[in-house]
């Protein structure tokens, strides 16, 4: 361990010990599941802590998943729903934040406050009415139902964070652009460009709960053709509960997309969450 070689004062050693122990606690369950999903059934039970070897390696669980066939659909549904919601939240949120941050007009404080109320109140509490609306619009079991709800739920925080960032862009930049003949929309595009780190932070804060959500797919779009990965996995796990290879493989497939994104963008994730929380 590179970290232990230098600076081995007792206090640093104590800190590393506690942190290492907690890191193991945090990662052990994830590693355990991923590891065992690549083993034969007997090995899963005989030696759960052993990593797969050439003899014990098996893709049996994944073969069951592929035969059952729905998982690609689930992943596709999740990508569509999360992607479109994210795009709408960022676009509409940035537009609203831009109007609130860069223009002075009567009622702007009121509108800002009105939009901010939704940060603290969970949208789930309106479920009964939302289901009525979605059914009345004929949108039950569609991607659009989920997208509308996620977008509405994500907007308050997005507007709140983005307007704080947009306010910090110096007015001179905007004035200069205006002198050059830029209209409202050109200036909007310019400010969004300048606030890209804030947009990334909002994207991350928004994406995690949408991708992982179980409640709305369960209530608005439980059908097989629209089920998201979280719901699909939940149903699959209930059904195949005794097929441990398949269960572990399904869990691994559900873990991988988020974990891969997290590993690739962990710096932005952490900074976005720490910064977003501070704002």
């Amino acid at each position: 361990m590179r970290t232990l070689r230098r600076l081995v004062t007792p206090s640093a050693l104590g800190k590393h010990t506690v942190l290492l122990v907690y890191t193991v606690i945090a990662l052990f369950p994830i590693v355990l599941v991923v590891m065992n999903s690549f083993k034969t059934r007997n090995e899963i039970f005989d030696a759960p802590l052993a990593p797969p070897t050439a003899q014990t390696f098996s893709l049996q669980g994944y073969q069951t998943l592929i035969r059952q066939g729905d998982f690609f659909g689930y992943i596709g549904n999740s990508v569509i729903v999360t992607g479109v919601s994210l795009f709408l939240i960022l676009l509409l949120g940035a537009m609203a934040a831009f109007a609130l941050a860069r223009y002075r007009f009567r009622g702007s404080r009121m509108i800002g406050l009105y939009l901010a109320l939704g940060i603290m109140v969970p949208i789930r509490l309106g479920t009964v009415s939302i289901l009525n609306t979605i059914v009345a619009l004929g949108l039950a079991n569609t991607h659009l139902a989920l997208i509308l709800v996620y977008t509405a739920a994500g907007l308050p925080l997005a507007v709140f964070i983005l307007s704080a960032f947009f306010r910090e862009v110096p007015r001179e930049l905007e004035d200069a652009a205006r002198v050059d003949g830029a209209g409202h929309f050109r200036i909007f595009a310019m400010i969004v460009q300048l606030a890209r780190p804030a947009m990334a932070a909002v994207a991350i804060l928004t994406m995690i709960p949408v991708w992982n959500d179980l409640w709305w797919p369960l209530i608005l779009a439980p059908g097989r053709s629209t089920a998201t990965l979280t719901l699909g996995t939940q149903q699959f796990l209930g059904q195949f509960v005794s097929d441990w290879n398949a269960v572990l493989a399904a869990l691994t497939i559900a873990i991988i997309p988020m974990l891969a994104l997290y590993i690739a963008f962990n710096r932005q994730f952490i900074r976005g969450l720490m910064g977003g929380a501070l704002k």
């Binding site: 600076l7 039970f45 009567r106 939704g118 603290m120 309106g126 409640w215 996995t233 869990l251 873990i255």
Partner: protein, 313 residues
Amino acid sequence: MATLTRGAPRRRRFPWHLVVFLGPAVVLYTAFMVFPLFDSLRLSLFGPGGSGLGQFVGLDNYIRLLTHSEWAPRFWGALVNNFEFFAIHMLVQNPIGLLLALLLSSRILRGRSVYRTLIFAPTVLSVVIIGFIWKLILSPLWGVAEGGLNAVGLGDLFAPWLGLKGPALVTIGLMSVWQWVGIPMLLFSAALLAIPDEIIEAARVDGAGALRIFRRIQLPMIAPTVGIVAILTFVGNFNAFDLVYAVQGGLAGPEFSTDLLGTFFYRTFFGFQLQLGSPTMGATVAGMMFLLILLGVCLYLFVVQRRLVTYEA
């Protein structure tokens, strides 16, 4: 730009650009968030109807929920469980998060960001997945937890906790703590890093130990974050559903011992197995949850935050 126009001509041009920028967000937010919340409160004041709405019954549904033998035991049970669930998070999750943040706030510690990244990893995963993973680990069938306890000589402690009435809720609570500890850790980290180094250095030169620095400097300075973490935990916990549903199913077994307001709301509204769902009673449960969350947020805004402000002044 409307108010910036000098000379104030009587008829200003209508600010169409503001409508274009604000309109879509305000309309969507109003239609799918604000309206449903109020409409749901309205529905909670009506009796059951065949296809449409029944009669206006005032607060009858709330009285039934709180007193009638068909609803009250489940409601109060879920409420008490929910407070216990919240207490577990406040007593275990947030102190651990704070401890980790304190350890990570030392600027000379190597590998800080690696630790932070790894410890935060479970938080990005779905609650459903986390619940199932822990269910497998605790399963006597697989024996990972039992084997682990045996290895350290505590094998006798093992029990199928999720199936036992007493320990099930604590077990679920600790799974949730395990997943979410990254959030308080990051929030506390951000607050601790914002404290100027000079203050802590000065205290250290004056001979203050780590504990004293924490109690006299760090804790008072991160007090606003303690409040924010508490209210975020509160809202999150009183809205929790996924974990219990994934691990114990909609009936929140054994014998409703892991029932939270979220699962109770789901069963009441949607129905489960033999029980028929009721939209109006579901709206009533949601109304109670709304009231609770509102109380919590108000308590935070008017008591906690106000005291913090006077403290800082």
